[in-house]
């Protein structure tokens, strides 16, 4: 039971991450836009690595590779979310909030403008939209929502260190939204659920933990390739890459 709650919390946190990334990637086509996709992708990978080394080396702030232990579980009105069941409740509430925010954004006229940017940015510019502002706004909102997941994660594990969020973590979240389907809020959640639960089966096969972790990576990689080959729009996505 405790194990299931743990999984559910992880699913919740990653679903929030997937939703927020989907906002930037799926709707505006940032990073994966048809036009200068290569440069976006390169720059964002580069950015990830730069920030990672800032975390690793700014020892006064982050204690570098040692990480920061002893982060407290959140408290409201002297009620502490110290046991996992209540923490699951907290995560679910945040997931719901993030989902509603994302749905609100994507179904508003602002969201339609974003989709239009994804399809044809130049056309929208001709209509007088400042597409840069739109992209910037959704990028910032996406980042803020991602930080919700980060905050939940840190207080759940009660520990945070730079190695928690490497490039491969980004690839994982990207895989989740591609699996679920870009530009679909439901898809993002489904993708996160599947990708978290899928490798858990490997645990029962009885691999040693190091090999199990690597097998997980291999499964993700193969999954990405297979998706690109046979179903580039993902499980429930509307947008075909």
């Amino acid at each position: 039971m405790e194990y299931l709650i743990h999984l559910a919390i992880l699913v919740g946190i990653y679903a929030i991450l997937a939703l927020s990334l989907n906002l930037a990637v799926g709707y505006t086509g940032l990073i994966l836009s048809k036009f200068d996709d290569d440069y976006y992708a390169l720059a964002s990978f580069g950015f990830n690595i730069i920030i990672f080394s800032v975390f690793l080396n700014w020892q006064e702030l982050t204690r570098g590779p040692l990480g920061i232990p002893g982060i407290h579980r959140p408290e409201i009105f002297s009620f502490s979310f110290s046991d996992n069941l209540s923490f699951l409740l907290l995560t679910s509430v945040f997931l719901l909030l993030v989902f509603l925010v994302c749905r609100h954004i994507t179904e508003s006229s602002f969201g339609r403008a974003l989709k239009a940017i994804r399809e044809d940015e130049e056309a929208l510019q001709i209509f007088g939209y400042r597409t840069l502002n739109y992209k910037l706004a959704v990028f910032v909102v996406g980042a803020m929502l991602a930080s919700v997941a980060g905050a939940l994660f840190a207080s759940y594990i009660t520990f945070i260190d730079p190695s928690t969020f490497t490039v491969s973590e980004s690839i994982f979240i990207l895989s989740a939204i591609i699996l679920g389907g870009l530009a679909s809020n439901r898809g993002a959640i489904i993708g996160a659920v599947v990708l978290i639960l899928l490798p858990e089966f490997l645990r029962f096969v009885g691999f040693p933990s190091d090999i199990a972790a690597q097998t997980r990576q291999a499964v993700y990689g193969i999954l990405l390739v297979v998706l690109m080959l046979y179903r580039p729009q993902g499980l429930v996505g509307e947008y075909k890459l």
Partner: protein, 254 residues
């Protein structure tokens, strides 16, 4: 001892390694027109092959290196035939290919870690006769010298290959316009397949890549002189982002 000559030496050596890598990458990017994220792992396969054949099986070093080149080439060729070729045939966008290659990278990396564990392995015992030279105040080893030499040789061979052989002309034609090349009867699939093989083996391309490789190596090595070693990655990618922002066409315009 003055540190500058040593930094220059280190930059030259690192630059040679990068240059060899960019040679192959440029070749695939030029012809197949997508960023192959899985490319770096091919170099890693080469390295692990040498480790496996020469250290674990005790074969001579040159044979291990040769096998490494062949295996990397083969993996690259297979990845192209079974993944990238069908995708390209379908006119998939660059993003699809990029994500697929990301998948290849993730999967191959994991397979290597399963086979050889994620701890690092050393080859140093193979290099007992590694002599140390000194030139203008910078020291370097025989292996490092040979890296530089191999870089120069590969570059010359490839420049010659591209310029004077039929294969090279076909490659140039494909990177200009694949459709037209197909129409005039160049077997583009075969050539691109070959390119993937060669680039996996570590031979490669051309002036801009070389300049970039050395620029990067100098920036890294001199950067850590003034800043600190831990920032190497940040320097590299900071440079990349600066280039993407202000000079996306690269050092030399194509």
């Amino acid at each position: 001892m003055d540190i500058v000559p040593q930094l220059i030496t280190n930059s030259l050596i690192a630059g040679s390694i990068y240059a060899i890598l960019t040679l192959g990458f440029n070749l695939t990017y030029g012809t197949a027109k997508f960023i192959d994220m899985g490319y770096g792992v091919l170099a890693v396969i080469g390295g692990y092959s040498v480790f496996y054949f020469s250290k674990l099986l005790g074969l001579p070093l040159w044979l291990g290196a040769l096998l490494g080149i062949t295996i990397s080439g083969l993996v690259s060729y297979l990845a192209y035939t079974f993944i990238y070729k069908p995708l390209r045939a379908r006119k998939s966008s660059g993003a699809v290919l990029l994500i697929a290659s990301l998948g290849v990278l993730t999967a191959l990396q994991a397979v290597i870690a399963i086979l050889f564990t994620s701890q690092f392995q050393t080859l140093s015992s193979l290099l007992s006769g590694n002599r140390i030279f000194e030139l203008f105040g910078g020291t370097f080893t025989a292996v490092q010298l040979s890296i530089f030499g191999i870089g120069v040789v590969l570059f010359t061979v490839l420049a010659f290959l591209l310029k004077y052989t039929l294969f090279g002309k076909a490659v140039t034609a494909i990177s200009d316009d694949e459709e037209v090349s197909k129409i005039v009867g160049i077997n583009t699939d075969r050539i691109v397949g070959c390119i993937f093989f060669i680039s996996g083996g570590g031979i490669g391309n051309i002036y801009g890549g070389i300049a970039g490789a050395f620029l990067l190596a100098f920036a890294e090595n001199f950067g850590i002189w003034k800043i600190a070693g831990e920032w190497k990655g940040a320097i590299t990618f900071g440079l990349l982002i600066m280039f993407l922002l202000w000079r996306p066409q690269g050092i030399f315009k194509r």
